[in-house]
């Protein structure tokens, strides 16, 4: 698999990252190297092996369905740039 400049631009857009136009070929090269390195795994025989979803071979622990959190809105909103009527205000997201 080879990463092109277009892939870099598209990934950056999806991640909302601003890229320096000139750095794009550089990122593409780095990413290709990483992928090339990972590609070594393709030489391993994985026939019949269940794919891992997590590096730790454990199962998910469950929590009883109980309300344990109290209202800390004031504390959380102390960090927010702008609030009104208990809401977080953000730049308008629909045109």
């Amino acid at each position: 698999m080879s990463v092109t400049a277009e892939t870099i631009v598209s990934i950056a857009h999806l991640a909302r990252l601003a890229l320096d136009e000139k750095a794009i070929p550089h990122y593409a090269e780095d990413m290709n190297r990483i992928l090339h390195w990972v590609e070594q795994m393709n030489s391993a025989d994985t026939q019949g092996i269940e794919p891992m979803a997590h590096p730790r071979d454990l199962g998910q622990r469950l929590r009883p369905d109980e309300v344990t959190e109290s209202d800390q809105r004031e504390c959380f909103q102390a960090n927010a740039p702008q609030t009104e009527a208990g809401l977080y205000l953000v730049p308008q997201v629909i045109e």
Binding site: L14, G59, Q60, R73
Partner: protein, 479 residues
């Protein structure tokens, strides 16, 4: 060209838990903004999600009720996208390995036709917060109380062929989640939301056409209207030589139309990957077996029992089992009144339903309890009152004038079943209508109804109709 409509539905069911799927914050509806959004829901640095056992329980319960495979191992994945009401920048969902696999749901289309709709999968996920666009000049307000609320997304196969079938499927599914007590199913509050995938293809073709997805339709009526509109739109596009664009559309109930919602420039690319904060969910047969024991009688089982045990038609039985509460109400009335099932159905689906509809109430808020209605129907059944008088008493009961027996007593509505009391009335009616009597005896049989009417009128409807019938016939033939 003749077109075939193909519909698949995705339903988001809000699970009826006390706390959120990954945090201990409350899920109660209607709290002040952001007072039920804790650090985990806000995606603050350093927090970790811990799965709510009850959501797993409910998902398995649902899976069992639709004969689905329950995954012994399922995995949570991150669905990545940016929106202000999604604080983490991703939604925790399930992708490749959902908790509930293939199953099916049977829907009743009419008295004879049952159609099996395939269920592709059902998976657990968290809800996002709410964006409020109206009230803040140039800004959007964000309420994160709903963020992290547990949802079960139920995906159907593209097995439905009309808006009617889609609505029947949704109603069946709605009744099912309420029977299972995994959701309150409240559509106004968003506890049961539907997205519809719709495409057209020439009749006889097996390949599916390009589909459009209609988002968030929040009532059964709108589902029907939205689908019908979209079907017409797609046929028009196709027949004028155009092609359908795969896109998300929004149904506008005010204008009764669907509109393109997202710009096409950016195809959805959610880059799912397993959430490293959560381990795979392992479920063993013992766990599944224990849940199996808690399954209630399901709507289709109840319907079959009603048909068999009470001799009801599929139509009546179907109406009654639409909600668990209605079915329970019916059975209580039936048991306590000892009246025939058909009489009970007619009253519950007739007078009572009409009265409830008129005041926008449902069976749980009925002004007449099942026991109270049972008393009234018992009085019809033991001939204390006629069905006609019962309607008057019913109105009194609805207005809070007391129970059936006390209204009968107070207003002297007790049916006259004493022959010696009815006979003089009949004699009087015959004496007062010599002309009609003569005509009747000359063979004008239709006048029998006239006499019945006169007798009932003379005794203010209190005489037993069957008895009047018999006595009158006898007397008219005599002399």
């Amino acid at each position: 060209m003749e077109w075939e409509t193909v519909i698949g539905l995705e339903v988001h069911v809000q699970l009826q838990t006390a706390s959120k799927i990954f945090s201990g914050a409350s899920t109660a509806y209607g709290a002040l903004p952001n007072t039920q959004a804790c650090g985990v829901d806000l995606g603050l640095p350093g927090v970790l999600p811990v799965l709510n056992a009850n959501t797993v329980h409910m998902a398995v319960k649902f899976g069992l009720s639709v004969d689905a495979e329950i995954a012994h191992r399922s995995v949570f994945a991150r669905k990545n996208y940016f929106y202000p009401d999604l604080p983490k920048g991703y939604q925790i969902s399930q992708f490749e390995l959902p908790i509930v696999g293939k199953g099916h749901l049977d829907i009743q289309l009419d008295e004879e036709t049952v159609k099996r709709i395939g269920i592709t999968r059902a998976h657990l996920e968290e809800d996002a917060g709410k964006s409020l666009h109206e009230d803040f000049q140039g800004m959007t307000g964000i309420d994160l109380n709903r963020a992290g609320t547990p949802l079960l997304e139920i995906v159907s196969e593209p097995d439905m062929r009309s808006a009617n079938e889609a609505v029947a499927y949704l109603k069946t599914l709605h009744a099912l989640v309420r029977y299972l007590e995994i959701s309150d199913g409240n559509m106004q509050e968003g506890s049961f939301r539907c997205d519809a995938n719709i495409s057209m293809r020439p009749k006889g073709q097996s390949k599916l056409g390009t589909r459009a997805e209609i988002k968030n339709i929040n009532s059964f009526r709108f589902v029907e209207k939205a689908i019908n509109y979209e079907v017409e739109r797609q046929i028009q596009v196709l027949e004028s030589g155009g092609s359908i664009v795969q896109e998300t559309r929004l149904y506008d109930s005010d204008r009764d139309e669907t509109r393109s919602m997202r710009s096409k420039e950016e195809a959805n690319d959610y880059r799912y990957f397993p959430d490293p904060d959560l381990l795979p969910l392992n479920i063993d047969d013992h766990f599944i077996g224990e849940i199996k024991k808690t399954l209630p009688e399901l709507p289709h089982e109840k319907r079959q029992r009603f048909e068999k045990a009470y001799g009801l038609s599929t139509y009546d039985a179907n109406n009654l089992v639409a909600s668990r509460e209605l079915a329970e109400y019916f059975e209580t009335v039936l048991k306590e009144s000892k009246a025939p099932a058909k009489l009970v159905v007619n009253w519950v689906m007739g007078e009572l339903s009409a009265a409830l509809n008129k005041e926008s109430l449902d069976i749980t808020t009925s002004k007449i309890t099942a026991s109270a209605l049972a008393q009234l129907l018992a009085r019809i059944n033991d001939n204390t009152i006629s069905g006609k008088i019962a309607k008057t008493i019913f109105e009194g009961m609805w207005l809070g004038e007391g129970d059936a027996d006390s209204i009968i007593e107070k207003q002297g509505l007790k049916q006259i079943t004493d022959t010696s009391a009815i006979e003089p009335i009949i004699d009087e009616v015959m004496a007062n209508n010599p002309q009609q009597l003569a005509q009747y005896r000359e063979g004008k049989d239709k006048l029998f109804g006239f006499f019945i009417g006169q007798v009932m009128k003379a005794c203010a409807g209190k005489a037993n109709p069957a008895q009047v019938n018999e006595l009158l016939r006898k007397k008219l033939q005599q002399d």
